[in-house]
């Protein structure tokens, strides 16, 4: 067996792994020929989608930092407790200044564990005061990680935050294999706390779960998986939630590490490329999203952010945000983008077709 079976409790960066270098990741991703797949931009060209252009900016996704209490094997952020890069209050203020005068309606907060940023609550309060719909990508276990986080469900409720949480499976084995020992049990406890304050119980407080495969395979049908999750979580723990988002793992950072170490990289990329769906390609989330990094730089999506592929525009920083120019940019693509166009497509909100 390869070393992937051993639990890694540190980030690639901490381990000084060669894949912590974006240049190394890009070298692997850019070589489509040796694995016999079409270049992604060529696939787009054949469907008259190249250059890929935005359709608007409806979602303002902010990565408030790479610090996390978990070290998930598939994490495309390479997040973990050893990562110290977090967004400053000044950069958050710059985001608020942009949002104040913008029509952008949804702000999607991600990390790491976004709640670990000391200015997280202030930022949510300010966003809420601007009348924005706020989404928090909460890893669930953070709620139980320290007593200072125990009231997060109440805090989320107060600001009508939409909670989106990863739960790769409705059983411990596969959840813990991906997210770490004991994560499933803590996730169940956290879900109970969210249900207890009214999240995921059919009202306005939305609790959506994210399913992503625990291995080198694509997610199955989102609706079927949602039904299965609903039945199992209700029967097993009397838990409820709203929607399940089935998300494909993209070959970036620690999931790329897993693919390479397990010798699944080529087969996985071929599977993604074979499942290319032009209808999904037309609906990819980068067409209506802008992604802000912890240091304020702008990207087409969170994956491009982790590969340090900044927006192809003159204004590449939140301090110099030019919405009009960004709306005319060409979205930066590479072979990792096949992850968002395979099958029914994949986005931070699940399938796209």
């Amino acid at each position: 067996m390869t070393s992937i079976t051993k639990e890694k409790k540190t980030s690639l960066k901490y381990r000084a792994h060669e894949l912590s270098s974006n240049a190394v990741q890009m070298k692997i991703l850019s070589d489509n020929e040796s694995i016999g797949i079409k270049a992604f931009d060529r696939a787009l060209k054949e469907d008259s989608l190249f250059p890929l252009k935005p359709t608007g900016i409806d979602i303002f996704q902010v990565n408030v930092g790479k610090m996390c209490n978990q070290v998930c094997k598939h994490c495309h952020v390479d997040a973990g407790p050893d990562r110290k890069e977090i967004m400053t209050r000044e950069t958050m203020q710059a985001c608020l200044d942009v949002l104040k005068t913008s029509q952008i309606s949804t702000v999607d907060l991600t990390g790491g564990a976004p709640e670990m940023n000391p200015n997280f609550r202030w930022f949510v309060e300010e966003l809420s005061a601007l009348g924005k719909h706020v989404i928090v990508r909460c890893n669930l276990t953070i709620i139980l990680a320290h007593k200072k986080y125990n009231d997060l469900p109440e805090f989320f409720k107060k600001h009508k935050v939409e909670v989106v949480s990863s739960l790769p499976y409705f059983a411990a084995r596969r959840t813990d294999a991906q997210r770490g020992e004991g994560v499933f049990e803590k996730s169940i406890e956290a879900l109970k706390m969210l249900n207890a304050v009214g999240y995921g119980t059919g009202g306005d407080l939305k609790l959506n779960l994210v399913y992503n495969p625990s291995g080198a395979f694509l997610p199955g049908d989102q609706n079927s998986l949602e039904q299965e999750f609903k039945t199992k979580l209700k029967d097993g723990w009397n838990l409820t939630f709203d929607q399940l988002f089935a998300i494909t793992n993209l070959p970036v950072s620690r999931f790329l590490e897993y693919l390479v170490a397990s010798e699944n990289y080529a087969d996985y990329m071929v599977e993604l490329a074979n499942a290319y769906n032009p209808t999904a390609a037309a609906e990819v989330m980068c067409r209506n999203t802008i992604s802000v990094g912890w240091d304020g730089y702008l990207y087409d999506c969170d994956f491009n952010q982790m590969l340090e592929l900044k927006v192809a525009a003159n204004s590449t920083h939140i301090s110099d945000f030019k919405e009009k120019e960004l709306l005319n940019r060409t979205i930066v693509v590479n072979q990792h983008c096949y992850g968002c166009t395979a099958g029914a497509g994949s986005s931070c909100g699940g399938t796209v077709v």
């Binding site: 059983a171 596969r174 291995g215 997610p219 199955g220 049908d221 079927s224």
Partner: protein, 111 residues
């Protein structure tokens, strides 16, 4: 090293059987697609049945394909292993139930 008889990449060439008889291959793949579409049974249930049958017929391509399909459709390790025990029970049972034939014959020719 001797050349392996089964090569996993050959599974991707399954469609090429149409090169020597397109009409029948088209009919087969059309039928195959319909069989695995969701119906009275879910995709997951069909994948688990296929996984069990794959082990009964010991087809390496089918084992690879329906292990993946079972995982994709949300089946877990416990369900997959239970499906295999169904295979084993039927295969083992099929041998053992012929013990009745053995007993019938033995009784027939014995005093």
């Amino acid at each position: 090293m001797s050349k392996p008889y089964y090569v996993d990449s050959d599974l991707d060439k399954f469609g090429k059987i149409g090169e020597w008889n397109k009409e029948l291959a088209d009919k087969f793949f059309s039928y195959y697609g319909d069989v695995f579409a969701p119906g009275a049974l879910s995709v997951r249930e069909k994948s688990l049945i296929a996984l069990a049958v794959a082990h009964a017929v010991q087809c390496p391509y089918c084992i690879d394909a329906y292990t993946t399909e079972s995982l994709k459709s949300g089946a877990d390790e416990e369900q997959m292993m239970e499906a295999l025990h169904v295979t084993a029970a039927i295969r083992g049972g099929a041998s053992l139930v012929h013990g009745v034939q053995m007993m019938n014959k033995a009784k027939e020719i014995s005093m």
